[in-house]
């Protein structure tokens, strides 16, 4: 009898109608979001692979940050489901690095206390907190004085503290919202190197929103390119050079090729 009925308008996807690909960490299904009546996302589906770094790149206003912030739970989606290994956000530890490190750190706490804050609040014993912060200090090869207040540190040092704080709780997923945009080139190179080391050491899944083509490609295993709104996935480009990648990678033929390809897709989408 069913075949005689007019087919219903297609329902948004769920993990049941569209199962995640193998080795997926974050699954986004049927995501919808509209701002002031105009749809930004409609039935948007995405799989983020485990333990990899995904850069989100796309035209202005396509909602790169909105997508990441919906996944991170900072902006509520209108509809859809987001699962981390089948768990909800509430059951998942995440870390988030903001673009504006000045506004993200707590200026009434020293840099050390900032890193220790999420650990203390999670009920960790002082000795364990001490050990964890020392471990991060070693991982990031910190040479500046962590007993100083954030406003006494340089921009790059502050952003380093932000990343340490975000990694302190050993999150499953680390979100980074344009982490380099307020840094000079020297500091960008430094933080890029540190992020790679942290990634190698912890295997954390990372999502980076970037508005800089070079940054987007350099760190990524996958470059997620978005279309203009209503936003869809334009393409997902792989970039497989081994890590750690030194700054010389920027002149490697493979980097140049992927960057050119990313630019090509980007320009196609901007013109679309």
């Amino acid at each position: 009898m069913n075949c005689l009925l007019i087919p219903a308008p297609e329902a948004p996807h769920t993990v049941l109608t569209l199962p995640p690909a193998p080795r997926t960490h974050v699954t986004v299904r049927g995501l919808s979001k509209a701002f002031a009546g105009s749809p930004l996302y409609r039935d948007f589906n995405l799989d983020l692979p485990r333990g990899q770094i995904v850069s989100i790149f796309g035209p202005n206003g396509c909602g790169k940050s909105t997508l990441m912030n919906m996944i991170a739970g900072l902006i509520p989606p209108d509809a859809g489901e987001i699962l981390f290994d089948g768990k909800t956000l509430r059951e998942t530890r995440i870390g988030y690095v903001f673009q504006n490190y000045r506004d993200a750190l707590f200026p009434w706490l020293t840099a050390w206390e900032n890193v220790a804050y999420p650990l203390r609040r999670s009920g960790m014993k002082p000795a364990a907190v001490q050990a964890k912060v020392e471990q991060l200090k070693a991982l990031f090869e910190i040479r500046f004085d962590l007993s100083r207040y954030p406003y006494e540190l340089s921009g790059g040092q502050q952003q380093t503290v932000c990343i340490m704080r975000a990694l302190a709780t050993e999150p499953e997923v680390l979100f980074l919202d344009e982490p380099f945009s307020a840094l000079d080139f020297e500091m960008t190179l430094f933080i890029r190197a540190k992020l790679q080391e942290a990634h190698l050491a912890t295997g954390v899944t990372m999502v980076i929103v970037s508005h800089d083509l070079e940054d987007a490609v350099f760190l990524a295993d996958r470059i997620l390119l978005l279309t203009r709104r209503p936003t869809r996935i334009a393409e997902i480009l792989p970039f497989d050079l081994p890590r750690p990648r030194s700054p010389e990678v920027m002149s490697d033929p493979e980097f140049v090729r992927v960057k050119a390809r990313t630019l090509e897709v980007f320009r196609r989408e901007v013109a679309a």
Binding site: I94, G95, F106, W108, P118, Y149
Partner: protein, 259 residues
């Protein structure tokens, strides 16, 4: 070269003295040139001498003491009422918006205009003076605390939320700390406001003590030297209170204006 630089630096330290010395000079000039009668304005030397005398003899201490006591008592009440209320209203913006007009209205009403009303309620008592001063000061504390919470940096609040910190700890560790800088601005204005109202109240609400009482009393009996000395002491009191709060703010809210 170095010596010259050192002299400039040394001279810089004394720059703040130039203003007061100029004022004293002008004061003396007005008398020497007979612009004002000495009966209205005694010479600065004599006035300062009289001031010194009242301080040494202790004649002015009881008045100074009761004014300080009233001001601090009013301020304490204002803090106890204003800070929690302001923080509560600030964290529920809807609640603040619904009483915003009342706060702004009474904040704009000179508290001295309410003295007769307070006289009706409290009569000619010490409590009256403290009540009206704490009313005026509490409003200032309240709206500064409320704005401190409302203007908390959203990024910091989000940063704490993402860490999975409980709502209570987001409030205590972030919102409350964020509001402190603005709260301190409120405290500093409030203590000045409390002093102003206390002085006015001491002048016009039957009073036996207080600097306000001393000023108006000496004016009535034409003891101008004592009047000017009392005015100077009142000014010094206001200055010291403000300075104390500035120093406390710098120590306690070390991040103010830097982050």
């Amino acid at each position: 070269m170095l010596a010259a630089l050192r002299t400039v630096v040394a001279e810089r330290r004394w720059l703040p003295l130039i203003g007061p010395l100029l004022l004293l000079g002008l004061w003396q000039l007005m008398i020497s040139a007979h612009w004002v009668k000495p009966v209205l304005l005694p010479p600065p030397g004599e006035t300062l001498g009289h001031l010194w005398g009242t301080l040494v003899s202790g004649a002015i201490w009881p008045d100074l003491q009761s004014t300080v006591w009233r001001t601090l008592a009013s301020f304490a009440i204002a803090v106890v009422v204003g800070v929690p209320l302001g923080v509560a209203l600030g964290s529920a913006e809807g609640a603040y918006r619904s009483v915003e007009f009342l706060i702004d209205f009474f904040r704009s009403t000179p508290s001295s205009a309410l003295i007769p009303l307070f006289l009706l309620i409290f009569g000619i008592t010490d409590i009256n003076k403290i009540a009206i001063a704490s009313f005026g000061a509490a409003l200032i504390v309240l709206f500064n605390s409320a704005y401190g919470v409302m203007n908390a940096k959203k990024t910091r609040v989000m940063a704490a939320q993402i860490m999975g910190v409980s709502r209570w700890h987001v409030f205590k560790d972030v919102l409350l700390m964020e509001s402190l800088a603005q709260t301190f601005v409120g405290l500093r204005s409030a203590v000045s406001m409390a002093l102003v109202i206390v002085i006015v109240a001491e002048m016009f609400i039957g009073s036996e003590t207080g600097l306000g009482h001393r000023i108006i009393d000496s004016q009535q009996v034409f003891n101008v030297k004592d009047m000017y000395a009392s005015i100077l002491v009142t000014g010094a009191l206001g200055y010291v209170l403000n300075l104390a709060f500035l120093l406390a703010e710098k120590r306690l809210i070390h991040w103010s204006g830097k982050a």
